[in-house]
């Protein structure tokens, strides 16, 4: 290499190193818990990282998921001729997709993710605002692993951030569509409105781990939602 070429290579390397240092500094500030530096530069970090480098590695942490969730759907059917409108029984729309994913073990499709994904959006709470809320409720506890506030209570509170508002609206819309597709599949075109029950199977605590029974099942109902065709 000539002197000039060596200098060019060295200069380009320096530029790339600076870029790498910048990128991973931003990545760290995005991923670290809120701290004095990340709070001061939150705007800059988000402008740079979103949407291309959006990431979140709090996988099953700090508190791992410790319950099964499922969606049950019932429908209001338009009357036949002069009859009355009917309301169907609730049917489970989650288990079959999960059973199917279990059967296609090596290459599961993503249909089984729809329930948990939609519920995650519906009950999404911004981690910082969650911490604040919890401190208001109970100033002495900060970790609160066994807090089992029903999500419905959370849903009654107004969303704390624009992200929460959007995730909640998207989650509700996705659940409505899921319920609608399932209802029409079962009950045909008479479906007029759908209602969704979110069932939660909370596992026995670790000390009772060999209890293979169903354990505690709790649920909450979302309000009746018009099907997309009848709006």
């Amino acid at each position: 290499m000539s002197k000039r070429e060596a200098r060019t290579v060295a200069a380009v390397s320096c530029v790339l190193l600076v870029l790498l240092a910048w990128h991973f500094a931003m990545t760290f500030l995005l991923l670290a818990p809120p701290n004095p530096i990340s709070l001061r530069h939150a705007g800059l970090v988000e402008t740079y990282m979103f949407p291309l480098f959006r990431q979140n590695w709090s996988l099953f942490a700090p508190n791992p998921i410790d319950e099964d969730q499922g969606l049950l759907v019932r429908a209001k059917l338009r009357p036949v001729a002069q009859g009355r409108p009917e309301v169907t029984n609730y049917v489970d729309i989650t288990s079959s997709a999960i059973r199917e994913a279990q059967a296609r073990r090596l290459w599961p499709n993503r249909r089984a993710r729809l329930t948990s994904g939609a519920l995650q959006q519906l009950t999404f709470v911004d981690p910082t605002s969650e911490r604040l809320l919890r401190n208001v409720d109970n100033p002495s506890s900060d970790s609160g692993t066994f807090d089992r506030e029903p999500p419905l209570d959370r849903l009654r509170l107004p969303p704390a951030t624009p992200e929460e508002a959007r995730a909640r609206a998207d989650g509700r819309e996705l659940i409505r569509r899921l319920a609608h597709v399932a209802a029409v599949q079962r009950w045909g075109n008479r479906v007029d409105a759908v209602q969704v029950r979110v069932a939660r199977h909370v596992f026995p605590r670790f000390s009772r781990r060999t209890d293979r029974g169903i354990g505690d099942v709790a649920w909450y109902d979302l309000e009746w939602m018009p099907t997309p065709a009848t709006e």
């Binding site: 290579v9 990545t27 942490a61 410790d66 288990s95 499709n109 993503r110």
Partner: protein
């Protein structure tokens, strides 16, 4: 370089040589391309029959709410038109690009297009994504700079004869970019492990060594007939829970040493094979393994290949030496 060159020039020359004379991890980069490409191909295929329901304009996440929700801060080719033909074109085009990328047909040129199509598909229905999909689109950006076509490629590079003069410097600069890309991938994986360990150690159930029990019991992540035996054993649950946190925390530091580096990679592969089989998170596991593969040096891969070949030769000789019963 003349012997009377100034000291600074000598330092610059040595440093420039060091970062631009050799492309590191060419085998690892090629393997990574094959694995990441296969994961994408299989994503398209596994969801092929459900594609209209999951991603289509009339599916569970119809075009209207999708464009309204996404428009603010992201981009997707799928938002350009609500036509079902456009949807089919993008989906099948994306599948074709993923195949071309996997087999290594001019990967440097195919990758950006593959990335845009895959990104667009992921944005089309974010509710069904996981950390593996997230890591996938992050490392694909770094792979833009990496030479993934040197090995295991159908047509790795455009071979242009001539254009002398321009070629030495440009090749050197390409090498610098390649090495920076490899470094970025390693840093991204190290960040992933470190951060997920730091979040875990804050959780009460991770501290008390019982977190794995709850996770393995979730119906989405359970392997019927096997998971029960793991999560009902107090010893296994505790060891696996602490082991996971400890390994993730140690990973970035294990990379610093040449010997422990291989321990990190083998440990990561073992952990993710376990996650794939027991928890059914196949694409997630393969994506993280793919990103780990660039940590292993080319010399090590070639030595490994040599051993496999030698073993094969010994076996063939043994088979040939055994008298055949038929004759």
């Amino acid at each position: 370089m003349s012997p009377r060159a100034r000291p600074l020039d000598r330092v610059v020359a040595v440093a420039a040589d060091r970062v631009s004379c050799r492309r590191y991890s060419l085998v690892g980069a090629a393997l990574m391309r094959v694995v990441l490409g296969s994961v994408a191909v299989l994503f398209y295929l596994a969801n092929y029959t459900d594609r209209r329901m999951l991603f289509g304009p009339e599916g569970v996440w119809p075009w209207e709410p999708f464009t309204k929700s996404m428009a603010l801060e992201s981009f997707s080719l799928y938002s350009l038109s609500a036509s079902p033909y456009w949807f089919e074109l993008l989906f099948h085009g994306g599948l074709a690009l993923a195949v071309l990328f996997t087999v290594g047909w001019l990967p440097r040129w195919v990758l950006p297009a593959h990335y845009v199509f895959l990104w667009s598909l992921f944005e089309r229905n974010p509710a069904i994504l996981d950390g593996g999909d997230n890591l996938m689109v992050l490392v694909l950006v770094f792979l833009f700079f990496v030479d993934t076509g040197e090995h295991l490629a159908l047509r790795g590079h455009v071979r242009s004869a001539g254009v002398l003069g321009w070629s030495l410097l440009s090749r050197r600069l390409g090498t610098v970019a390649h090495n920076a890309g490899i470094l970025a991938i390693v840093l991204q994986v190290a960040t992933l492990y470190l951060v997920s360990a730091l979040y875990k150690i804050q959780g009460e159930l991770w501290q008390s060594g019982t977190a794995l029990y709850y996770i393995l019991r979730v119906n989405e992540y359970t392997l019927p007939g096997w998971s029960e035996h793991i999560y009902e054993s107090a010893v296994l649950v505790t060891l696996l829970t602490y082991g996971t946190v400890l390994f993730q925390l140690a990973f970035p530091f294990l990379l610093l040493n040449r010997v422990t580096r291989y321990l990190a990679v083998l440990g990561a592969i073992a952990m993710h094979v376990g996650i794939a089989i027991i928890m059914g998170l196949v694409s997630f596991s393969l994506t993280v393994i793919a990103a780990d593969l660039v940590v292993v040096s080319d010399a090590r891969y070639l030595a490994l290949l040599g051993k496999v070949k030698a073993y094969g030769k010994v076996r063939r000789r043994a088979v040939a030496a055994t008298p055949s019963r038929v004759s």
